[in-house]
Symmetry: C2
Subunit: 163 residues, 2 copies
C-alpha cells in the first residue's frame, strides 16, 4: 500500500516539475529516476514503470541528459545502457532558471536602450533590470552556500568532487 502512495508522490512530483518548465514526459521519467529502488535504471525500466512507448522514453532521456540531470553509466559490456540521477541534479535544475533570468535582463536592457530617460517605460525597465541583475549576482553565492553545507567544515581548501 505504501508503494502505491510512493508512486503517487512520484506523479505529483512530475506535475510540479512540469510547472517548473520540464516537458511532461521528461518530468515523469525524472520522477522514476528519483523514486526507483534500483541504483540505476534502463530505458526499458522506465517504459515499463510508466507504461509508455520506447520512443517516448528515448526522447525524455535524451532531454534529461542534455540538461545534465542524469548520466549514462560506463556500461560494463552490457546490452542495455544504464542511467542514474546525477549527484548535483537539484542545483543543476535550479540553475537552468538562470537562463530565463538572462533573457529577462536582455529584454529589459533592449527596452531601456529604446526609450528616453524620464519616460515611464524607461523607469519601469530600469527597475526591472536592477532586480534581475541583483538575482544574477546573488544566485551563484546561494549555490556555493549549498555546496558548503554539503561538505561540512573540511579545510577551507578545494572541495571534494561529488562523483
Amino acid at each position: 500500500m505504501s508503494d502505491k502512495e510512493r508512486w503517487q508522490a512520484a506523479e505529483r512530483l512530475a506535475l510540479a516539475l512540469t510547472e517548473g518548465g520540464l516537458q511532461r514526459m521528461s518530468a515523469r521519467a525524472l520522477a522514476v529516476f528519483l523514486f526507483t529502488d534500483a541504483e540505476t535504471v534502463t530505458m526499458g525500466d522506465i517504459a515499463d514503470r510508466l507504461g509508455v512507448s520506447a520512443g517516448s522514453v528515448s526522447g525524455a532521456v535524451k532531454a534529461l541528459l542534455s540538461v545534465g540531470l542524469i548520466e549514462r553509466l560506463p556500461a560494463p559490456g552490457s546490452r542495455r545502457e544504464h542511467y542514474r540521477l546525477r549527484d548535483n541534479a537539484w542545483p543543476t535544475l535550479f540553475s537552468t532558471q538562470n537562463t530565463v533570468v538572462r533573457v529577462m535582463l536582455q529584454a529589459a536592457e533592449t527596452g531601456i536602450a529604446t526609450t528616453a530617460s524620464g519616460d515611464p517605460a524607461h523607469e519601469r525597465l530600469m527597475r526591472m533590470r536592477d532586480f534581475y541583475q541583483f538575482l544574477l549576482r546573488e544566485l551563484p553565492g546561494l549555490l556555493q552556500r549549498w555546496e558548503q553545507e554539503q561538505h561540512p567544515a573540511r579545510h577551507s581548501g578545494r572541495g571534494t568532487q561529488p562523483a
Copy 2:
C-alpha cells in the same frame, strides 16, 4: 524605428515569461504594462496594442491581478478601468516559484515516508529534500537583501556600498 525594436523586445520578454510559467496571453499583457509609455493602461489599450480580442485581455488581466503583478487604480469616475504594474512586481513574480518549491519538498517527504532507511530511493529523496529545504530557508533572505538595496542606508548606521 527604435519603437519597433522596443516592441520586439517586449515580445521576447513575453516569451521568457512564458518559459517561466505564465500563460501566453498574460505574459504578452504584462509586457505591455512594462513597455508602454503611459503611466497606466486600459484593457482597450492592451487589446489594441496586441491585436487580440477583448475577451482574451479580460482573462489575462484577471490572472495578472490574482498573482499581484498589476493593480487596478482607484478610478476617478472614469468609464474605463485603469491598471498599472505594481511596484514590487518582480519580487512577487520570483516568489511564486516558492510554491513550486513547496510541492517538490512535499513530494520528497512523502517518498521518504514510504521507503526504508538505506534504500537507494530513500537516500536520493533525502538529498532532494535537503536541497529544497535549503532553498526555502534562503529565498526569504534573498528578497530581504533586495528590499534593503532599494531603501539605501536609512539609519542602519553602516555605510552600504554595494558592488
